[in-house]
Amino acid sequence: MIERYREDILTPARVITISLILLAVLALVTAVSLALGTADISIKDIFNILAGNTASDDPLRLIVFRIRLPRIILAGLVGFALSLGGVVFQAILRNPLADPFILGVSSGSAFGAVIAIALGFGFAVGVPVMSFTGALLTIYLVMMIGARNIGVESSTILLTGVIINAFFTAIIMFFISVSANDRLHTMLFWLYGDLSQARYSQLIIILPLVLLASVVLYGFSKELNIITTGEENAAQLGVEVGAIKKAALLIVSLVMGLVVAFSGLIGFVGLIVPHLARMAFRSDHRLLIPVASIGGAIFLIAADTLARTIVSPSELPVGVITAFIGAPFFIILLKKRGSQWT
């Protein structure tokens, strides 16, 4: 009798076991992704290269370390961050369809990036800096407009996001309309998510910040569980709702601004992966956060591998792949589950 109940209870051991299994899957997907691409490299070669058994000027080694690995790491980090942001926003806004860009961070970033591209800035510094500045601008606007109500009413925040989105989208369209043709392609690629500009110098910035944010947000996981059951309810159970909500909104938005600055707008990851994670492991954020985050990394690495191999030697923006998988996925989900979300 007691055993039956015990398996319902989440334990640290269960969280760690499931996370380790997913990390193993992540390692496997990374290895396969390293092997796939225009140049033909076998999994065996990959292990030799990773083990350091090849000459330092071996061309395959250069392809793996200079081109494929940074891109895979970027895809993993971006997927990780997008899913993490999705999970946290869905909890705070109590809406399973909330997306990590819902506050308009995406359009602010895109606004910055499109201006940077129109002015001919490079992808090493100019575009990410402008994009992140755009993200900060939207976060500032949302916090200013929504601040009075931020502890109380989620719909005010959502509405503010929608308005800001509409405004920046108009400006983006203006710049797209007046841009020279050669820059148009770059802009459109960026708007659909582009991981091809990955550099180690960027990863050094993104990696620690994303990990730090995930640790802080994980610390909120019990509060997030309770906030999903209603804000007043959460306050009654002892959650400092206003403070947690503000902190989480700010951290997630900053991380979104950061990853978008280096990857462009990659849609659906922050929706699909948290959904799948909830379907498989239910709603306790102490398990959901690691599962969805690592799952997001796996998903985006796989999607980006497809994006760069499917029309090889040319490539697609990864956002095309995620939307191509994501949209039908949601249609099936809606038909199957109706309004019942878990």
Partner: protein, 254 residues
């Protein structure tokens, strides 16, 4: 808990004015009154969700504002009228949420917390629901789970907003009996808002009758539930007699 000259207004309109209340350990107090008389507002003030613009409110002689949220939740638990679960949790997980104010940030529920949660579910006759998703439960079953969650919080005071509104007769009686037992044995104090005047009269030690945000009558049920009080406050003529079993006042519509 002690309330002195409490006044609360939404924007311009005063919802409550001059409310005094002294809640003693082990006491069951019922708040009654027509719709819009300020019952739920009073309960939310006592739960530290609404902060009154006038008056003083203390618990153990300490003002509410010196309590952190978790510290307050260890003193006072609330069973709200409405609960909206957007995501799926099992009944046991919901009751374990009541342990939140007792746990440290990254601490998981231990064996003791699970025992407390299961005991609470047993007391509300909901233990067999523990593995089921909250979405699958009927309103009455949910109500029993939420009362169990409040018990798992191990508070000194429990506030209940319409605790029996979705319950059928058997569970109505059982919930009120449970409340009575807890008050007697654990010195738990209970404040409940109820539309069911008869039930409130039967189980409460003291009633507070609100009209337009002020206390119209307060005291033992037989002092408060009189035909003239009811007729004035509810604007509905009634005949009041006594329940033949308990001797408590009973309302008959005429």
């Amino acid at each position: 808990m002690n309330l002195k000259k409490i006044g609360y207004r939404y924007e311009k309109r005063w919802a409550l004015k001059g409310i005094d209340l002294d809640l003693k350990a082990g006491e069951i107090v019922g708040i009654i009154g027509p719709n819009g008389s300020g019952k739920s507002t009073l309960l939310r003030i006592m739960d530290n969700v609404l902060i009154p613009q006038e008056g003083e409110i203390n618990i153990w002689s300490k003002p509410f504002h010196i309590f952190s949220r978790p510290a307050f939740a260890r003193e006072v638990a609330m069973v709200a009228q409405e609960n909206h679960f957007r995501f799926s949790f099992s009944a046991l997980e919901v009751v374990l949420m009541g342990r939140f104010p007792h746990l440290k940030r990254l601490q998981f529920e231990g064996q003791r917390d699970i025992e407390i949660a299961r005991d609470a579910l047993r007391l509300t006759h909901a233990l067999d629901l523990s593995g089921r998703s909250i979405h699958e439960l009927s309103e009455g079953e949910k109500q029993r789970v939420f009362i169990a969650r409040a018990l798992a919080q191990e508070p000194k005071i429990i506030l209940l907003d319409e605790p029996t509104s979705f319950l059928d007769l058997k569970f109505k009686k059982e919930i009120f009996r449970l409340i009575s037992t807890l008050c007697r044995e654990k010195e738990l104090s209970v404040v409940l808002v109820s539309h069911d005047i008869d039930l409130a009269a039967q189980y409460c030690h003291r009633l507070i009758m609100l009209k337009n945000g002020t206390i119209y009558a307060t005291g033992a049920p037989d002092k408060v539930i009189t035909a003239s009080n009811i007729e004035y406050v509810y604007e509905c003529p009634v005949l009041v007699d006594n329940n033949p079993l308990s001797g408590r006042p009973r309302i008959n519509l005429v």
